[in-house]
Amino acid sequence: MTTDTGVKSAAAVQSPVRGAAMSTGRAGDKIFVSAARGSGILVLAIMAAIAVFLIWRAIPALQKNEANFLTSEQWDPNGTPARFGIAQLAFGTVVSSLLALLMATPVAIGIALFISYYAPRSVAGPLGYLVDLLAAVPSIVYGLWGLLVLAPHMEGVSSFLNSALGWIPLFGGDNPGKNSIFTASVVLAIMILPIISSISREVFLQVPRAHVEAALALGATRWEMIRLAVLPYGRSGMIGASMLGLGRAMGETIAVAMVLTFVPGINWHILEDGGTTFAANIANSFAEATETGRGALIASGLVLFVITLIVNMAARAVVARRKEFV
């Protein structure tokens, strides 16, 4: 701030003792590395403990299950005999999250590009802030909004999509409604938009000025600059951001439970009412579940982990592959 602080710190750096400490810094290094590694191990321990706990709770329920856990569409773990399977849950979760991701990612990256490269400086800051703010809206609010504001409009949209694109099986069906998987995925898309775009924006801000300027200096148009300098640099970050978004979409509970009505059985016509997801099912069934019921819900949560894991691993593989070429 003032000159005297500047002088002081310069003097401190110049002092031989500090200089020597800085040049080797073994003790500091050692402490820091062990702190970092310790945190890593701690995280590992916590997460492993949770995994073990979940498996331990899930096994008794799975042993009592009389239906095929992976292929049955029924969910009745509290009955005698207990019969439950995750087919419908997995279907609803995967379809709604993937649709949400498909809808949200391009738009979110568009927003991030808009804020970092298109909008005037004076507008960009507040806009970025606005988008961040939307990540702050609690999911129950998205649920209420989806139910009260969005769903009534979705009836028309669904009918339109049904009549225009009905020849695609996914958009087929006779009764397009407002409480469909499609509506749920629109809500999810809106929820994860701010997450993906906030992180993408940060990534874009990290693109070295030199790359951008080099591209522009060579006469690239703005789009060419983005394509050549920004997007390749930010690819890993954007994929990471999408994965965080997907993680939230798959784990989202209340908003989905509020918007989506439940109809038993897998329905490939995503414009028709009804469906459910892992998280929504857990929220809806947990309070009244018996011991077996809780175990069954935990087992379904484990499957959610596996799906999340596969998706994340795929994403990491994509990122790693790309790295070799850049």
Partner: protein, 368 residues
């Protein structure tokens, strides 16, 4: 250096803000409504107790806690309305002092409850009657009259149109449209569903063949919505729907409610009074101080509205720590007194009729 001083300044601001915040809060909401205030004395306890369970009795609990703490200053009761099953689980885990539940303890739950009560019994004490309304959304048709068979037919999907013969026969003169009936049910597991299906199974066993359960059975038709507010919201916003929901939700959204035919053959409108009468024929199935009830859904009592649920408080006869036991006894004595029961109609419930209530009072007296 520079960063350090800024950090200190920031910390100062945060601390100041926290201090300001913690200074201005108040627990003192003096809003107690005079008409609900107890006229008699309460044998006050002290301290704080946690309870959890049925959301169906949440508003009753709110009102009771309000009146109780107004009278007994310095006491606190935290009731977590997270569902009957979760409440019983928290109770048997020893996390709460008593549980609220829409159904009495099941045989498999009794052992765990006994363990929690250090070997003595856990008793079911019916405390609130919750009327369940059959609500629908059909413009121009108010006061729809339905018999149990018709209700069961609708909710199993056998009756598909609003102008079906079965409905038309019971509602001569009503302009029934030729549109689809869209039944809505609770997608979460709930005591409301259990009691509604109990009613259907008891009164229309030929049509409703599924066993009563907290989960909507597979023979049931329609689509599920989450929680009472989800169900009532769905009915409010979608034409042609029909569902079942606690009376207070129907009242709040001003939903159309159906008149239901009781065992005496009359179509009865839902009210606190008519619901209370439905308990008249109830049979006590619990032994000793346990007042678990079995309702007579086909009740022939004149003017009784047959679809009700009874919500219980589940408490240890003995075995709680002395402080807690005293609190629970004192609080339940209030709720089962005339003073406690008189607040119920104002918050959307019906009181427990006197013949059942006196048994409950005796049981509460025996708690220690």
């Amino acid at each position: 250096m520079k960063n350090g001083s800024r950090l200190a300044a920031l910390g100062g601001v945060v601390v100041a803000g926290a201090l300001a915040l913690s200074a201005c809060g108040s627990d003192d909401n003096t809003t107690a409504t005079a008409s609900n205030a107890p006229t008699g004395n309460i044998d006050c306890a002290t301290g704080m107790v946690n309870a959890a369970g049925s959301s169906a009795q949440k508003n009753a609990m709110d009102e009771w806690v309000k009146q109780y703490t107004a009278k007994c200053s310095g006491t606190q009761l935290n009731y977590n309305p997270n569902g009957s099953g979760a409440g019983i689980k928290a109770f048997t885990d020893g996390q709460v002092a008593f549980a609220g539940s829409d159904s009495a303890l099941k045989p498999e739950e009794v052992t765990a409850a006994k363990q929690r009560c250090q070997g003595s019994n856990a008793v079911n004490l019916p405390m609130v009657v919750g009327p369940i309304a059959v609500v629908y959304n059909l413009e121009g048709v108010d006061g729809l009259q339905l018999s149990p068979e018709t209700v069961a037919g609708i909710f199993t999907g056998k009756i598909k149109k609003w102008n079906d013969q079965a409905i038309a026969k019971e509602n001569s003169g009503a302009k029934l449209p030729d549109t689809d009936i869209k039944p809505v049910y609770r997608s979460d597991e709930s005591g409301t569903t259990e009691n509604f299906t109990k009613y259907l199974k008891a009164t229309a066993p030929d049509v409703w063949t599924a066993e009563p359960a907290k989960k909507w059975p597979s023979i049931g038709a329609g689509q599920g919505a989450a929680k009472s507010d989800g169900v009532s919201g769905q009915v409010k916003s979608t034409a042609g729907t029909i569902s079942y929901v606690e009376m207070s939700y129907a009242d709040n959204l001003k939903l159309q409610t159906a008149k239901i035919k009781n065992g005496a053959g009359e179509y009865v409108e839902l009210s606190a009074d008519s619901a209370s009468k439905a308990l008249a024929g109830a049979k006590q199935v619990g032994t000793g101080n346990d007042v678990a009830l079995e309702l007579d859904y086909a009740t022939k009592t004149a003017g009784a509205y047959p679809i009700v649920l009874v919500t219980y408080e589940i408490a240890c006869e003995k075995g709680l720590p002395a402080e807690q036991a005293k609190f629970v006894k004192s609080f339940l004595s209030y709720t089962s007194s005339a003073d406690g029961q008189k607040v119920l109609t104002s918050v959307g419930y019906a009181p427990v009729p006197q013949e059942v209530l006196s048994k409950v009072q005796a049981s509460v007296k025996a708690l220690s």
